[in-house]
């Protein structure tokens, strides 16, 4: 046994020795591993920290808050309001279609919306929230919230939406916003446009002042995981989005609203038409209204097909901005142009009289005066006061169409103004050249006759009529209308008419509204409080024919407008300014198929002008600023 035991001891020592060698080797390996760890975590740490940051950080675009559109007193006309929206995160939805069907049962989704949602889901990674419905009303929102447990993947969240609080009276001016289309993206390389929740101005001021309203995108540092999902946000004040600037309009919200109310009728809804109130000195538009209106909010929340159909089939064309894009024959309101042209030509003596028998024969055609029995003897002032057509036929024939057209242009007709709104038309001031180009036939005296009473080829918008009136009232400057308040006041060209001639025209316009026998005579046009302050107005009525009047009709005794179908009634037109002696505001009003200009348009204009003066601190002692200062 001893040898075995010896052997055992020898073995033992051998094993111990060899295990010591192995152990040392193991220690060495641990040393190498420790050194490697040191290399990674100390020597190269900076490098790996950068790599780690590159891994985790992404920059998400922050959307700027859109600027607010305000009226001249700062009242918001378009602002951002928290709204409720539904989004879906497709990866959390077990069955996307079934979930959407359930949502649809509570808050209907149109086929168009479904297609848009499907497209968005296809084009984005499935953890990106897809907008299902924007501007969900509170009731639907709560109803959906209660059923969220049955709608996997649906998230109800609060976002920013555009709101237009002034129930539609600014719709034509403001326009609306929407998601950028392919064309917008092609013409504007701002990456904001590609953001699915970003909205840009589509029409109106929203589109025209887009650059100011939009602001600039910011960056948000976000930590993302290996699959790109956001783990954490790292807000940094330096990279916040720059909010858009506010845009202040020259408009007076309350006056605009007041104006809109004047278009209401007892039985036929709102009358159709347009009205502009312009500051005679500065050219600032206080009112720019097209009636009837529509609700811009509908465009924000997504128009339904039935809304669209209703709007498109309405004969009063609510979407059409008649104030700047509606061309109407100015009718008798054009007579100031002819009158001024006559005075400027030096060919006509304003005291000279023309005998009106009710019609003038030109070749084998009769040109009628609106007063069938005729006005009798008329001088220039009386002719305007009573709107005698015959007088203007005669005068126009003497001075010729070119003189009229020249003055018309200098008064602002036949051209469009840059008031930051798209769609303004130039209207028409017809000349020989224009007619040849357009119709291929030469100018005839009959055309001059028609032009002299603002009919025939002449077309003007309510805005142009207001500008024309404002220039007459201003005397010196060829004012140009403006809608957006800018840093600098616009500089105007001189008007360059003989001030005495303009004074004569204004006096004649005063007689229209202020002398018995004038077509728009009212003893107290703005109510009693203005009579006290001695504030008077001047103006001119117009009745635009929309149809030829046949001989037979004339013989039968014609024109009971209110008995005609709406579409065949005359346009009612009025232009005016006030106060007469110290003009502040000029107005141009057209009521489509509103009948005689002496009634509908004149009433509306008087009310609006009176309100404009009142709001400007004139007239009413209670509201007067000067009173407050005393």
């Amino acid at each position: 046994m001893p040898p075995i035991s010896n052997l055992n001891t020898a073995d033992k020592n051998l094993v111990t020795r060899r295990s010591a060698i192995l152990g040392l080797g193991g220690l060495g390996v641990f040393g190498v591993l420790g050194a490697r760890l040191y290399q990674l975590q100390v020597l190269q740490a900076e490098n790996y920290r950068t790599l780690s940051d590159n891994n985790r950080f992404n920059f998400n675009m922050l959307l700027p808050e859109r600027g607010i559109i305000r009226d001249r007193f700062g009242m918001p006309l378009a602002y951002n309001r928290q709204n409720f929206r539904l989004v879906m995160i497709p990866e959390r939805a077990s069955d996307v279609n079934k979930t959407l069907d359930r949502v649809s049962a509570i808050s209907p989704l149109s086929d168009l919306q479904r297609r848009r949602i499907d497209k968005d889901i296809r084009q984005n990674p499935n953890f990106v929230p897809i907008l299902i419905k924007d501007n969900v009303d509170w009731e639907t929102f709560t109803a959906l919230n209660m059923r969220l447990h049955a709608l996997p993947g649906i998230v109800a969240e609060a976002g920013q939406g555009r709101a237009y609080p002034e129930n539609g009276v600014f719709s034509h001016v403001l326009g609306y916003i929407g998601r950028a289309g392919d064309k917008d993206i092609a013409s504007d390389n701002d990456p904001l446009l590609k953001q699915p929740t970003f909205r840009i101005g589509k029409t109106g001021i929203e589109a025209a002042t887009e650059k100011r309203l939009r602001g600039a995108s910011g960056k948000l540092k976000v930590e993302v995981n290996a699959r790109g999902r956001i783990v954490r946000e790292w807000p940094d004040p330096e990279t916040r989005a720059t909010p858009g600037q506010d845009v202040w309009l020259t408009l007076d919200a309350e006056l605009q609203e007041f104006a809109a109310k004047q278009f209401a009728t007892e039985d036929e809804g709102d009358d159709s038409g347009g009205v502009c109130v312009v500051d005679v000195i500065t050219g600032e538009l206080r009112t720019l209204l097209s009636m009837p209106t529509f609700d811009s909010n509908l465009f924000v929340s997504g128009l339904t097909q039935s809304d669209m159909d209703r709007m498109n089939s309405d004969p009063k064309r609510p979407q059409f901005n008649k104030a700047i894009a509606g061309g109407y024959p100015p009718a008798s309101t054009f007579k100031m142009v002819v009158m001024l042209a006559a005075l400027e030509s030096g060919l006509i003596d304003p005291a000279g009289e023309v005998f009106c028998s009710g019609k003038v024969k030109l070749g084998n055609r009769d040109f009628h005066c609106w007063k069938r029995r005729g006005h009798g003897r008329m001088d220039m002032r009386d002719a305007l006061k009573q709107s005698c057509d015959t007088y203007f036929y005669e005068v126009a024939e003497v001075i010729g169409n070119d003189a009229i057209a020249g003055v018309a242009r200098r008064l602002g007709l036949g051209q469009s103004y840059d008031i930051s709104l798209r769609g303004a038309i130039t209207g028409i001031v017809p000349t020989d050249g224009w007619k040849r180009e357009r119709l291929g036939t030469g100018w005839r005296t009959g055309d001059t006759y028609n032009v002299s009473i603002g009919q025939g080829f002449v077309l003007a918008t309510p805005l142009q009529l207001a500008v024309m009136t404002a220039r007459i009232a201003n005397t010196l400057d060829a004012i140009v209308p403006n809608l957006v308040i800018n840093q600098t006041l616009p500089k105007f060209e001189p008007l360059d008419f003989d001030p005495a001639h303009l004074a004569f025209v204004r006096d004649a316009m005063w007689s229209v509204t202020s002398e018995p026998g004038g077509t728009a005579y009212r003893p107290q046009p703005f109510g009693s409080e203005f009579a006290v302050s001695g504030i008077e107005m001047a103006g001119k009525t117009g009745t635009g024919q929309v149809r030829g009047i046949s001989k037979a009709e004339r013989l039968q005794g014609i024109r009971q407008n209110s008995k005609l179908p709406w579409k065949l009634r005359d346009h009612s037109i009025f232009v005016g300014f006030a106060p007469y002696d110290r003009p502040r505001f000029a107005i141009g009003t057209i009521v489509e198929h509103g009948g005689s200009g002496a009634v509908r348009a004149a009433n509306i204009s008087r009310a609006i002008l009176g309100e404009a003066l009142r709001r400007d601190g004139l007239g009413a002692p209670g509201n007067s600023e000067s009173k407050a200062l005393d």
Partner: protein
Amino acid sequence: MFTRSGLVRNSSPSQGGGLASKLYEIYWLLPTLAGVLGLVGVIMIFAATDGVWRLGALQHFLRVGFAGLIMLGVALINIRVWYRLAYPIYLIALALLIGVEFVGVEINGSKRWLDLGITRLQPSEIMKPAIALALARYYHDLPSDKVSHILGLIGALILLALPMSLILRQPDLGTTLLLGTTGVAMVYLAGISWRVISLASIFAVVAIPLFYVYGLKPYQRARVETFFDPSRDPTGASYHITQSKIALGSGGVSGKGFMRGTQRQGEYVPENRTDFIFTVIGEEFGLVGGLLTMGLYMSLIGVCIWLSVQCKDMFAKLLILGLTTTFTLYIFINLAMVMGMAPVVGVPLPLISYGGTVILAVMGGFGLILSAHLHRGVELPRSG
């Protein structure tokens, strides 16, 4: 200190004695260190799963506790029993490996598991302690002058080659190499002459390239190739190593703080609950945490070697050292892989990585080590 107390105890308890006194005599430093590492695992799995107990940390805790009980049970069983069971256990493990070959469950393209209904068993894990038992028994029985003899060598090689070839077929390159290295280490420890060692080394130089070309599956070769040239496939296989290195490197000296690892939060390192858990340690606790963890492992290994020195029998010594080698290799391969020094092979960090079988196998192994030490006074039969 330990020597003296060991010697003092040596006189009476070696013959067995009561259960309580046996429990008292267990070398408690070893279970304590293993338990501490298990708790490190619980904490790091908790972090890796973003603070959700039920995603692994809780299970790991329970498993460590359960495996700890198994360890104590194994430790209390007389070393004679383990000596006698050495070959049967090896044969059972071999049978299970053959079973895997025929009725194994395939996951991710490799057949490594047997479905037992309640749980899945990975026989290759059982083979790790089994091969240590078998080789320890083999060399215990083999007279020392036969160790370097060709016949003695062939016996050991057969014991080793059978399970290795079966595991390589699963395929599981990591475990195969681990098993082979353990075997080679044991043969070396058994006292094989340096002459044979040098011959074997020359043979290995020739054999390894041949094995690489003919013995490996294409995906295994791809892993090795990516390791040597990470730019070959930056988003595919090398992604794992790259992200792992970023996690460790960005941790720096003191780490990003517990639960603050951004690589972890961003889920950039796959498998960071299991094989790549060291990246969580390195990222959140930095070099300090990494070295402390390695220090714990080194202490554990040192304790094991120290226990082997105290044993007299060849069987006990080789068993302890064989098991310790396996355990150490786990750590080396895993850390080298995580630090980008070895190709990605599926080797967990023992006691810390999530995974039931590994904990059971490792703790069972520690049980055997404790048993060998506890019963170091027991005489084992020795032939020849």
